[in-house]
């Protein structure tokens, strides 16, 4: 299949690393508030956004994810006081790295979403989904030689 071909009924698959204390709670609140967002995301709860090792992201792309969002508490709000500052440094580098090797920047995003920011969660997920939908399926880094 050519790299640009979009299969029928394709839907973006997006992996969201959500920190336990803010973003995951924010996602919960979004649901409780009946705020609709695209069902394209798979949420993976992590204790802190600082737990997200960049290799998790590469692995996700290998296994067929179309986009990754790493989300955590706003700077200053980290449950562990400084975890997300480490995340910020790490992903400032990581995001540029991924863009550098040819992953479109929309596919590798970070956002701070607090436990109270249900509308923001809704908005971010909607935006990210639409951005990735526009890009089409990701085949870069994909390890698909095992499918046959």
């Amino acid at each position: 299949m050519s790299i640009n071909e979009v299969p029928q009924n394709w839907e973006p698959k997006i992996l969201v690393f959500a920190c336990n204390w803010c973003t995951y709670a924010g996602a919960d609140l979004t649901g409780l508030g009946r705020l609709q967002y695209p069902p394209n995301i798979r949420i993976l709860k992590v204790p802190c956004s600082g737990r997200v090792n960049p290799q998790f992201v590469v692995k996700a792309f290998q296994r067929g994810i179309d986009g990754v969002l790493v989300a955590g508490c706003h700077p200053g709000d980290c449950h562990y006081s400084t975890g997300n500052y480490f995340t910020r440094r790490r992903f400032l580098i990581m995001n540029r790295m991924m863009e550098y090797i040819g992953i479109e920047p929309q596919r590798m995003q970070n956002k701070w979403i607090s436990a109270a920011e249900a509308p923001k969660f809704q908005q971010v997920i909607t935006e990210v989904t639409e951005e990735i939908r526009a890009l089409g399926p990701n085949r870069k880094l994909r390890d698909d030689q095992w499918k046959n």
Binding site: R63, W146, K147, N148
Partner: protein, 329 residues
């Protein structure tokens, strides 16, 4: 001898490509290796390529079978072994010899079907060498750079022409299929240039048998980085690992090249490792090449291609080691 202008070699390959998947030595990015011949292939006929042809017969990663597992059940599904009729053009004496070594491993004492399938279906046109590289030493290993063992056709580098001589029945058929494009000429096969490396391997395998405990191994292994570069560029190194990839219920069992330089290679469940440090690993590699294989199959596991010398980051030079063995008391 039947010859063709080097500039017209592509015409012959095009003819052969009708019947075979043709594989040629060519540039590949900043390196060179044997790759399927196509319109844009940058062929490399002046010197041997940097990577050996072993992956044509023994790919770095090769699927063996699929399996499916649910709860406590499993199914095994055999995969068709890949491999249609193919032909390697331009394989050198050293690499032809390496196939002889690999044949011993994969075709004797139990036939390895994955290897055999590809080996049986591959015709071989060997190409003579005229100019040895800095690191070449095939003559020291008893090879003739202008006459390969086991080739179907021996081709000769005649400067601006290439000459062909059929060796086997299959070779005769190959020549017959391209005969129209060749012309008969009387030629003189040029002598090959001087080898920079000459080493005498006579008696080394026998002598090594008594040198397992030699302090020499401590000395030569110290600078080794235990990377697998030498083993992966070696045309005769054939160690492999068997592993698997699993996606949900589906799994694929594959084998892939492994290297005796890696610690994990001999690491046993439970923690014991019979070759725990670089000394044991380096010793095993050179003993395997120069003694164990000779004991087992009566031939050296080194063809003098010089690739390991070429890539080793710390200049672990097998010829230097042979000399050291020779000189040892």
């Amino acid at each position: 001898m039947l010859v063709i202008q080097k500039t017209k070699i592509k015409e012959i390959l095009d003819t052969l490509a009708k019947e075979y998947k043709v594989i040629v030595p060519a540039k590949d990015g900043d390196t060179s290796k044997f790759i399927p011949y196509g319109d844009n292939t940058e062929m490399l006929l002046e010197e041997n390529v940097q990577l050996p042809p072993k992956d044509v017969f023994f790919p770095q990663t090769e699927k063996m079978y699929k399996f499916k597992s649910k709860k406590n059940t499993m199914e095994i599904e055999n995969l068709p072994i890949e491999g249609g009729k193919q032909l390697i053009f331009g394989i050198r004496s050293c690499d032809m010899k390496s196939l002889d070594c690999l044949d011993q491993v994969f075709l004797t004492k139990g036939t390895d079907e994955f290897y055999k399938e590809k080996r049986d279906k591959t015709a071989l046109i060997a190409l003579s060498c005229t100019k040895p590289k800095e690191t070449c030493f095939c003559t020291s290993m008893g090879l003739d750079p202008q006459k390969a063992v086991g080739a179907d056709v021996q081709a000769y580098d005649l400067g601006d022409k290439i000459g062909f001589e059929a060796i086997t029945e299959q070779g005769k058929k190959i020549i017959a299929s391209i005969e129209g494009q060749l012309s008969e000429e009387s030629v003189v096969v040029p002598k090959f240039g001087e080898f920079k490396i000459n080493v005498d391997v006579e008696g080394v395998p026998e002598k090594l048998k008594g040198m397992f405990e030699s302090p020499m191994w401590d000395d030569i292994s110290r600078k080794c980085l235990n990377c697998g570069a030498c083993t992966y560029v070696c045309p005769t190194c054939h160690c492999f690992d068997i592993s698997q990839e699993v996606r949900g219920e589906d799994g694929v069992k594959y084998r892939c090249w492994d290297s005796c330089m890696f610690g994990e290679y001999t690491q046993m469940a439970g923690g014991h490792n019979p070759r725990p440090t670089k000394k044991e690993r380096v010793r095993n590699r050179f003993m395997h090449k120069l003694n164990y294989f000779v004991e087992r199959y009566n031939m050296l596991l080194c063809t003098g291609c010089g690739r390991c010398i070429n890539v080793c980051p710390v200049n672990m030079d097998i010829t230097a080691i042979i000399k050291q063995v020779k000189e040892a008391e």
